[in-house]
């Protein structure tokens, strides 16, 4: 016994130096810190809870409509509060069409503006113009709606739509899109205004992407005699493609759910029409217009079910855009 003890004592003296500072020796964090950490964690967790709660609430309140109409709810064009028949087809169609139109305007415009801001304009002008484009995002949706209804729609009705139907409307195929009563209210007007509303969001990120391409890469292309356009299409855009697509998905998400401006100018008719001049509606505009009028459970439930569709659509679009933007920022080791 004694011998072993002695042996142990001897061993303790020769503990390798690396073990002398064991992890247990680390000082405990102050007690206030533990509380503070938990407090902040709870605050941060409010967000996921809210998101789950939104999804569950929408699901819960759309059950009556889904139970009554079944899967046919999504494929029926009929929308009649009097007979209590509801179908989501026209709203979903309108949402998709107006969003596509908006992206057709916002994508080329934001690429061109980013090109101007990064490659062409001198720094001071670039800064000023960039700020102005970003201020477009500060104007509230309802102001776009007012302007669209009282200023832009009359112009569409008086000049643009007659011109389009005369000169493009007769072409077989694409001409079918430019049909309908030239009242100024309808899909086309809504899509154009949406495009300008989305522009600042897509443009801001596209500009960031253009700016983050290392100058050396661009300069080497310029040095080979490439023009600005060739540098953009062959160097800048391929380099930042993931980020640019992410930016457009972000804009897409915005366009899907934009409410007030669309409500003012889309015409609010539950009809599916190929012609872009016909009045239509979108999910958001149907909800904005009819929610306060709805009194029966089925009616409210049908509207909330539309909301559920919109929730799922924007959720998916958000996931894609987050993934793409995150991948880009991580690749360039800049925190998102």
């Amino acid at each position: 016994m004694k011998q072993t003890l002695e042996k142990k004592d001897y061993e303790e003296d020769t503990i390798p130096e690396s073990e002398l500072f064991s992890p247990q020796d680390k000082p405990k964090p102050a007690r206030g810190d533990t509380y503070f950490r938990w407090l902040t964690a709870v605050c941060a967790l409010v967000l996921p809870l809210i998101m789950i709660a939104i999804g569950l609430a929408l699901l819960y309140y759309s059950v009556p409509a889904l139970r009554k109409f079944g899967i046919g709810f999504f494929f029926s064009e009929e929308w009649n509060p009097v007979t209590q028949q509801f179908g989501a087809l026209s709203s979903i169609y309108g949402t998709l069409v107006s969003t596509i139109l908006a992206m057709l305007i916002a994508v080329p415009l934001s690429l061109a503006i980013a090109l101007f801001l990064v490659e062409l304009a001198p720094p001071r002008i670039s800064q000023t113009v960039g700020t102005m484009i970003e201020l477009l995002a500060a104007i509230p949706s309802i102001i776009y709606g007012m302007w669209g209804l009282f200023v832009f729609a009359p112009i569409m009705a008086g000049y643009v739509q007659p011109w389009l139907s005369t000169y493009i409307g007769w072409i077989p195929g694409i001409g079918a899109l430019f049909q309908g009563p030239p009242m100024g209210l309808g899909m086309l007007t809504a899509g154009i205004i949406l495009g300008f509303m989305v522009l600042p969001f897509t443009c801001a990120i596209t500009r960031d992407v253009f700016q983050m391409v290392p100058p050396v890469v661009k300069e080497s292309a310029f040095g080979m005699g490439a023009t600005t356009w060739e540098v953009t299409t062959k160097v800048t855009i391929p380099y930042g493609l993931v980020g640019i697509i992410g930016a457009f998905f972000l804009g897409l998400g915005r366009a899907l759910g934009e409410t007030m401006a669309v409500t003012f100018v889309i015409g609010n008719a539950h009809k599916v029409n190929l012609g872009l001049f016909y009045p239509g509606n979108s999910i958001a505009s149907a909800m904005a217009n009819e929610f306060t009028e709805a009194t029966e459970i089925t009616y409210i439930s049908a509207l909330i079910c539309l909301g559920l569709v919109l929730f799922i659509l924007t959720y998916l679009v958000q996931i894609v855009s987050q993934m793409l933007l995150r991948r880009m920022y991580r690749a360039w080791s800049v925190g998102l």
């Binding site: 206030g32 101007f116 958000q318």
Partner: protein, 290 residues
């Protein structure tokens, strides 16, 4: 060999480049024109509606001339204020967790992801949520529900900007303070916050600007009201609550020319307010950088 290597004629490429450059300049001009067209329209049409009555009188019944929007002005202010007071502390603390404690942990990543999704969530969906949570349970449209909807929209914006701003503070500052023996919470609140002060203020101002122009989430939560029981104990929040943006919607869609003019007046007030907030927020962060 050399004789065969003729330089390509540069014509086509140069012309294409020229066309693209012109297109880029025109696009930029188009964006600026859109901004000025909208703001100048609002300015011109709204200016004639603004007078002392607009700011100091209650609205009149439809068809009766005169009256103002005192109730809606106060209403929007109160709703925004409540949403701000509720979301700023919560958002600052949540942002601290993401930047200082959570970082890449699962909880933090979940929270960050939800914040990004909620920021892109259509505001009308948030309105439906507030309707389901507060209007259905309380039994009527109320100012509480409206303020709650605005709060839900504001919170993710404040959390994310707080995180971004705190991350800009260099780690050496934290280390220096920790080395002096400060506990972590004191380091965060007394030192890191002070360093990020202007950024945080900017974030909060931008969030307020964004929320005060929202219409969709108020449509079926706060609704609207021609009355204002401002002097009751709860500011009249348990009833439909007047606010500028829904008033603009109602007045613009109404057949009375007098109301439409008033809608433009309200649009001017809200646009100028928001643009001022946005520009001052940018100015704060820019003077800080310089």
């Amino acid at each position: 060999m050399n004789a065969k290597m003729k330089p390509r004629p540069p014509g086509g490429r140069k012309i294409l480049n020229m066309i693209v450059n012109i297109w880029a300049v025109l696009s930029a001009i188009l964006g600026i024109v859109a901004l000025f067209w909208i703001t100048i329209t609002v300015l011109l049409k709204g200016w004639s509606a603004l007078n002392l009555d607009f700011f100091t009188r209650m609205p009149t019944p439809p068809g009766v001339e005169g009256g103002g929007m005192l109730n809606a002005l106060i209403g929007t202010f109160v709703l925004t204020l409540i949403a701000t007071v509720a979301s700023v502390p919560l958002g600052l603390l949540g942002g601290i967790f993401l930047a200082e404690f959570g970082q890449e942990s699962r909880v933090a990543n979940n929270s960050r992801f939800s914040a990004n999704v909620l920021m892109g969530m259509p505001s009308i969906i948030v309105g439906v949520f507030a309707y389901a949570v507060l209007v259905v349970t309380l039994g009527n449209f109320s100012g509480y529900a409206g303020a709650f909807a605005l709060f839900v929209i504001m919170l993710p914006v404040i959390i994310r900007t707080t995180e971004d701003m705190l991350r800009l503070v260099p780690n050496t500052l934290r280390e220096a303070a920790l080395a002096l023996g400060f506990p972590r919470w004191k380091v965060t609140l007394a030192i890191v916050f002070r360093a990020a002060k202007s950024g945080l203020l900017t974030g909060i101002l931008l969030a307020i600007a964004r929320v005060s122009g929202e219409t969709a989430p108020l449509l079926f939560t706060a609704l609207n009201s021609p009355f204002q029981h401002f002097f009751s104990w709860n500011l009249g929040l348990d009833e439909p609550y007047p606010n500028l943006t829904v008033t603009i919607f109602d007045y613009a869609m109404s057949p009375y020319p007098d109301w439409q003019v008033k809608a433009w007046g309200a649009s001017l007030v809200i646009t100028v307010g928001i643009l001022l907030l946005t520009i001052s927020a940018r100015w704060i962060i820019r003077t800080r950088k310089a």
